[in-house]
Amino acid sequence: MAFLVAHFTQIVFYVLALLAVLGGIGVVTFKNPVHSALSLLGTFLMVAGLFVLRHAEFLAAVQVLVYAGGIMVLFLFVIMLVNVKKLQPEAVFLSAQAPMAVLAGVLVGALVAFGLLAGKLAAAGGVPAALQTVDGKVLGNTEAVGWLLYRQYLVPFEVVSVVLLVAMVGAIVFGLKSASLDRGEGRAER
């Protein structure tokens, strides 16, 4: 009992982390796309839990609101709309992408390991440093995020939003193009 109370945060962390990883494995192993999407949803919710654990309530809420409540629902919408039954068994695209996927995995792993070693991501108890602003006042979560986003990282933030806008416009243009063409031609066009 005493152990549970003393290590409460750690236990919750490991449970959430384990479930998040299991969800991630589920995404790639489930045969049925709806089940995959749902296990991705589970991962998102667990990550939101991890954010709460790190006192990043704003991020947690946004994670649930945007990823779980928005993006995943749209995934499900598309999967159900086109009535996807099962993935094609041969899955040609996987083999072509495999080397790149391994490379990307190694790179991301290296990045995380570097971060951990450098102490950048190391846990700091109490109020995270990000919440203390220039005048030393401890702000709420939302203010802290806003402060960082619109002061320190304003330029990257704006660049990212323009990139997203370009991606969105591009997607719409492609969508319109293939919709105006005959189905078979649209496919060949890609």
Partner: protein, 373 residues
């Protein structure tokens, strides 16, 4: 990558059996749909779930015994079914109906038209999500059915006409009660229109939906409001007047665009015109017998005869082929308006959404009783 990519997923169009048990198919209609998302790629009506062999039955029974079967064709509006049958039989047998009987038949037929149209409005509105008109229209329909009940004892399957006239004269006070009812009806029609006619959602759901041009409508053989909604002024009551329709004044409303909204307006106006006809009939209702002198056993001579009436749904016709001295037709064919109007359904819904299918089925105002016969 060169060459067309293989599709990543098994993507299929959805096949959907819309009916035969579905709240919006107005009976046991089944529509086999091929859907791309919610878009209708192909719609195929499948009928026959209510087939009772009515035409065959007519070959086995004497003319007056057939009349109860006609009630069950368009069971929403029985008077016009009776009327069409007795008109055809009278034409075959060369019987002239007394004027009083003709007028009472017209009153019953127009009351039947109103009761059919209010029921159409009720179901059409509820299909498009407006629930309240349903209860308003049923309030008035009940009062019309009360009048039927008072006249012949039945509310739905009236069996109210006979070859040569009518089985009964009107009961005492019926004319006054009918007069009172029809005076109050236009006020109620305004009430329905308040809820719907200028409602923006209603307009969005009906304007430009299920459009059919005048040429197409004629090619499909549409009759009744679906034809008039496309702007064709065609009404059996005017072009081939039967009973005493040539003695009363009324207008034939027509639409312009042939869409669901125009057909809605046409039917709303038809109800007002029906009230006008009933008013005139009541005012000049002649005295006299309601039954012509006809022999006990009706025997036809050899021939082919076709007679049709303007039923609420369109042209309802009966064709008899008879042999000499027969007491029943050798062959009977019924031309049910719903059956022919339904043929336009695939053309009217293609490319629309599932929700529009419901609107189009509603606007065609089909009754499966007469489609399947």
């Amino acid at each position: 990558m060169a060459g067309p990519l293989e599709p990543l997923f098994d993507v299929e169009e959805m096949e959907l059996s819309f009916g035969p048990q579905h709240p919006a198919t107005h009976g046991v209609l089944r529509v086999q749909l091929r859907l791309d998302g919610e878009k209708i790629m192909d719609a195929k009506p499948i009928i026959g779930y209510l087939h009772r062999g009515t035409e065959k039955l007519f070959e086995r029974e004497s003319f007056n015994q057939c009349i109860p079967h006609t009630d069950r064709l368009d069971y929403i509006a029985a008077p016009t079914n009776n009327e069409g049958f007795v008109l055809a039989a009278e034409k075959l047998l060369g019987i002239t109906v007394p004027p009083r009987a003709s007028y009472i038949r017209m009153i019953l037929a127009e009351l039947g038209r109103i009761s059919s149209h209010v029921l159409w409005l009720a179901t059409h509105a509820i299909d498009l999500g407006a629930i309240t008109p349903f209860f308003y229209t049923f309030r008035e329909r009940e009062r019309i059915l009360d009048l039927f009940e008072e006249y012949c004892g039945a509310r739905l399957t009236l069996n109210a006409m006979r070859v040569g006239g009518l089985p009964y004269d009107l009961p005492d006070g019926w004319v006054e009660r009918c007069s009172e009812l029809i005076d109050s009806l236009p006020k109620y029609f305004d009430e329905y229109e308040t809820l719907l006619t200028e409602n923006r959602i209603w307009k969005k759901r009906t304007i430009g939906i299920g459009v059919i041009s005048a040429e197409e409508a004629i090619d499909y053989g549409l009759t009744g409001p679906p034809l008039r909604g496309s702007g064709v002024r065609w009404d059996i009551r005017k072009v081939f007047p039967y009973d005493r329709y040539d003695e009363v004044e009324f207008e034939i409303p027509i639409g312009e665009n042939g869409d669901t909204y125009d057909r809605y307006l046409v039917r709303m106006e038809e109800m007002r015109q029906s009230v006008r006809i009933i008013r005139q009939c009541l005012d000049r209702l002649p005295d006299g017998p309601v039954m012509a002198k006809v022999p006990k056993v009706l025997r036809a001579q050899e021939g082919i005869v076709y007679a049709s009436v303007e039923a609420p749904k369109g042209e309802l016709g009966y064709m008899f082929v008879t042999t000499a001295k027969s007491t029943q037709p050798y062959r009977c064919h019924i031309r049910p308006p719903s059956f022919i109007n339904l043929q336009a359904l695939p053309a009217m819904v293609e490319g629309h959404l599932v929700a529009d299918l419901v609107a189009v089925i509603g606007t065609l105002d089909i009754v499966l009783g007469e489609i399947d016969r």
